[in-house]
Symmetry: C2
Amino acid sequence: MKTLLDHRSIRKYKDRVISDQLLHEIIEAGCRASTTGNMQVYSIINTTDKVIKEKLAPTHFNQPMITTAPNVLTFCADFNRFNKWCTQNNAEPGYTNFLSFMTAAIDALLVAQNVCIAAEDKGLGICYLGTTIYNADKIIDILNLPKGVVPITTVTIGWPNETPALTDRLPLEAILHSQTYSDYNEQAIDKIYAKKEALEENKQFVVENNKESLAQVFTDVRYKKQDNEFFSQKLFEVLKQQGFIS
Amino acid sequence: MKTLLDHRSIRKYKDRVISDQLLHEIIEAGCRASTTGNMQVYSIINTTDKVIKEKLAPTHFNQPMITTAPNVLTFCADFNRFNKWCTQNNAEPGYTNFLSFMTAAIDALLVAQNVCIAAEDKGLGICYLGTTIYNADKIIDILNLPKGVVPITTVTIGWPNETPALTDRLPLEAILHSQTYSDYNEQAIDKIYAKKEALEENKQFVVENNKESLAQVFTDVRYKKQDNEFFSQKLFEVLKQQGFIS
């Protein structure tokens, strides 16, 4: 519980390696996560090589953690291994479809979160890179991912060299619904986001970006419609190329 | 670490409620999970009502946990709340696309796994229901999910009334790749799946289903091509209906 409550993303790491023994212990614990039908349709790529990390860096928009963290873990939806097992056991795999992609992506994400908690429990720091699905095509090339494999998320991991403050969260009533979904009226939305909007750092963001509201920082600067549409198209192409949609 | 290593899916629950206080504590801890841009684009529906649980049961192919667990948690990708906040702050949301759906689904899954670990840490038992993405359309109707909201996974939660054995996992070298992806040859696949195939319960599955191999139990009985294709089509329709693909 303490590990969960103490989580903060760590973006600065000490110049110190993670031993293979510790890494394996963490991954073993991570793999105890629930998995659909116990198929374990995921793979984890552990990259420590400087040259490969430097190739990965631009696919994550050069966020510095890729090259400064000792280990970069790329969590992939993976039906390649399972399909091979089926084929060589006279069974015809039926997993070249979107449902199977989502099943494997879910598997990969549950194991990713478990690995992160195991790592944090051992005193390591982690940071998720949501950029993985933006440039999945390039990551596929760099990491030699075969058909049936799609990178879903990336986690950098290392010994923490910073102690950032906890980030804010919406109040519980904003995200938890009783029995069925309770939609939000205008007042409820104002109330839910009031604390976030009042944070000094967020007010600063609004000023720095010359915007009227924090919401505009998200829509006009951080997560823009045109970018989302461009990367959506690319992601669809990846799913086609890797054999999950036709 | 112990909590992670001790995980087993719990399908039988005591006839004992989970207090709101305990549930809130668990969800609060769960919400410390990483979230893209700290947007928290997810919602959690907590269903305890007998009538609603009975409506949900068939959408999960009548797995008994839905009605026997005191709490059913449906984890949803949710851009509805965020979009409303943007719109009423003079910001134009650009999140009606596939990338945004995946971003929200990732958020929902990381929080789901965190909630599960928090629950297990408190002595509760959990079971994931992968069926959520099969019948998302019906779950949307039952839980009144508005546009921008898609159920991704469901977790039943309650006080354990069984102590099942740990399930098997593939050896570490099967799922962990060093530097880049190492594809599998025939011998490697045989070796990876040997332990699973040799398990008494799996041998029994093969006999009971009158199949030649364990792989055939998966392809011909448990996760069939025609079902996967049918539910893929339905899931695409859901993404269209909820405004994530056009």
